[in-house]
């Protein structure tokens, strides 16, 4: 596949891995030793998925670690909102449409998938436009689309509302759970016990909002950030670029994904968002609590397409069990497998907290793809040194 396969080239991976080792050595020398591993947060659930799907975390020297950020909109869906989805879906007149990811997320009592089995008309769609088509084809039913995701998915949802408006499609509405990335990043950066050394910026959010919006991370919070693509070579290349910034003492916004991400973002997409949505004062995030101005709601102009105004929505709040340590994992203080309930009380089948809920959540991905350190167990040579030069783990 063009523009995909080239960015999965294992030979390029080897070369990059070597360069990453060299950079780490250099940083190590400059600082007179590293007290703790360098921690790079990848914000996006899609990056978390790539890292585990290709085993990229194993290819890094032990002095560099990924911290899996909160950029998995499915994981951070509050249970109360899932309950609201189910309640809407259970209304006999409603056809509830959603992306596949959201169907398995458990609310306080059940999930959309289970509600479907119990008779609710829940339908999976690939695109919000498909949901609009369903509305056109079923004029006597109320079609609700469950809109979630960061700025990546907002334009498509917005465009769908605009089309519904233009086409006078009265039986279509949006249950809006879109969240914004910048307040989220600020909340992470403002944590008192933050230890992050750099960021992999969200590639597809950035194709909408551009890269200039991240300047505050470099300038105010003094952390390097590289906006990264999603193929494994993109991820590795971006890690290299962040480490290079650290080695050279720079704090800048770099764009590794320039083939897709324009610096100014996408004007038409931003315009659609602007027309349809406005910020919500508060929005609850599972695992992180409430973050100011991190959510959006539908403007009054399009109130007729707002499921929250058309139908009763309880919006109750539920907290995760005491044992849940998602907050600490999100900030990089502990790794998934260091959580006391990881793999025991908390598994993808029976998740206790946000990060185990969807397959892109840090804990779920770790559990599914990496709960066993396979590199040590399949007979491949693992080279370790006690001190400099940096340890090498090479896949022949």
């Amino acid at each position: 596949m063009k523009y995909v396969d080239e960015f999965r080239d294992p030979d390029r991976a080897r070369a990059l891995t070597l360069e990453i080792h060299r950079l780490v050595e250099r940083i190590d020398r400059t600082r007179g030793g590293l007290e703790r591993p360098l921690q790079i947060m990848e914000v996006c659930g899609g990056h978390t998925h790539s890292i585990f799907r290709y085993g990229i975390h194993q290819m890094l020297p032990p002095e560099v670690e990924f911290v899996h950020g909160p950029g998995c909109p499915v994981c951070v869906l509050p249970m109360g909102r899932v309950d609201d989805c189910v309640a809407l879906a259970e209304r006999p007149e409603v056809i509830f449409t959603t992306f596949g990811d959201a169907m398995r997320v458990p609310g306080s009592r059940t999930s959309l998938l289970k509600a479907k089995a119990d008779g609710a008309d829940v339908r999976m769609v690939y695109s919000p436009l498909d949901a609009l088509e369903i509305a056109r084809a079923n004029p006597h039913r109320e079609v609700i689309f469950f809109g979630l995701g960061f700025e990546t998915t907002m334009p498509s949802t917005a465009m769908t509302v605009l089309q519904a408006h233009a086409g006078h499609i009265e039986n279509f509405s949006l249950f809006c759970n879109h969240i914004t990335i910048i307040p989220t990043l600020k909340a992470i950066l403002d944590s008192p016990d933050l230890r992050l050394d750099g960021f992999l910026g969200p590639g597809h959010v950035s194709m909408v909002i551009g890269t200039r919006v991240y300047r505050f991370i470099a300038e105010q919070y003094r952390r390097p950030i590289t906006v990264a693509g999603f193929e494994p070579l993109d991820v590795l290349h971006s890690v290299f670029m962040v480490l290079r910034q650290i080695a050279e003492g720079r704090c800048e916004v770099e764009n590794q994904y320039a083939r897709i991400v324009p610096e100014d973002g996408n004007a038409q997409a931003l315009s659609a968002i602007q027309q349809v949505f406005e910020p919500r004062e508060f929005f609850e995030w599972r695992g992180l609590g409430s973050i100011e101005h991190s959510g959006v709601r539908i403007r009054d102009t399009f109130a007729a397409f707002d499921a929250e105004r058309k139908f009763p929505v309880a919006n109750l709040q539920f907290s995760d069990p005491q044992a849940c340590q998602c907050g600490e994992v999100l900030k990089g203080l502990i790794k998934p497998h260091q959580c006391k309930v990881f793999g025991t009380a908390c598994t993808p089948d029976r998740p206790l907290g946000a990060l185990m809920v969807s397959s892109e959540g840090a804990c779920a991905a770790h559990y599914r793809y990496a709960r066993i350190d396979t590199s040590a167990l399949t007979g491949r040579a693992v080279v370790r040194t006690g001190s400099a030069p940096a340890a090498l783990r090479v896949q022949a």
């Binding site: 596949m1 070369a15 990811d101 498909d130 334009p155 465009m159 070579l233 996408n266 080279v383 022949a396």
Partner: protein
């Protein structure tokens, strides 16, 4: 919500409503191209262009020159190794090899 894949626009289905046929590795789907067209670049001019496909929309044009540039950069990084640093890699390995409990390399 990050899943997006490069695809090539192979035909315009409905220019007025911004619908185009995109192909990804032999799989075709109608997508909405509203976000990548404007007065200077109308739908008809998009045939043959590579775009990022996400939930039924073209979200961005793929800048082929930039893609080549990134690949060239990556190749350069690779070439620095082929000059002999890969030997350094091998030296390091043989000097400090430890093998895992299950045995030697296959």
């Amino acid at each position: 919500m990050c899943l997006g894949i490069p695809g090539q626009i192979i035909a315009i289905h409905d220019a007025v409503n911004n619908l185009a046929l995109v192909e990804v590795s032999g799989v075709r789907r109608l997508i909405n191209i509203a976000f990548i067209v404007d007065e200077e670049l109308p739908p008809a001019a998009c045939v043959g262009d590579w775009v990022l496909v996400h939930v039924g929309f073209a979200m961005s044009r793929l800048d082929e020159a930039e893609a080549m540039h990134t690949l060239a950069l990556l190749r350069e990084l690779g070439e620095m190794d082929e000059a002999g640093e890969l030997d350094e890699l091998d030296d390091l390995r043989s000097a400090t090899d430890t093998f895992s409990a299950t045995g030697s390399t296959p």
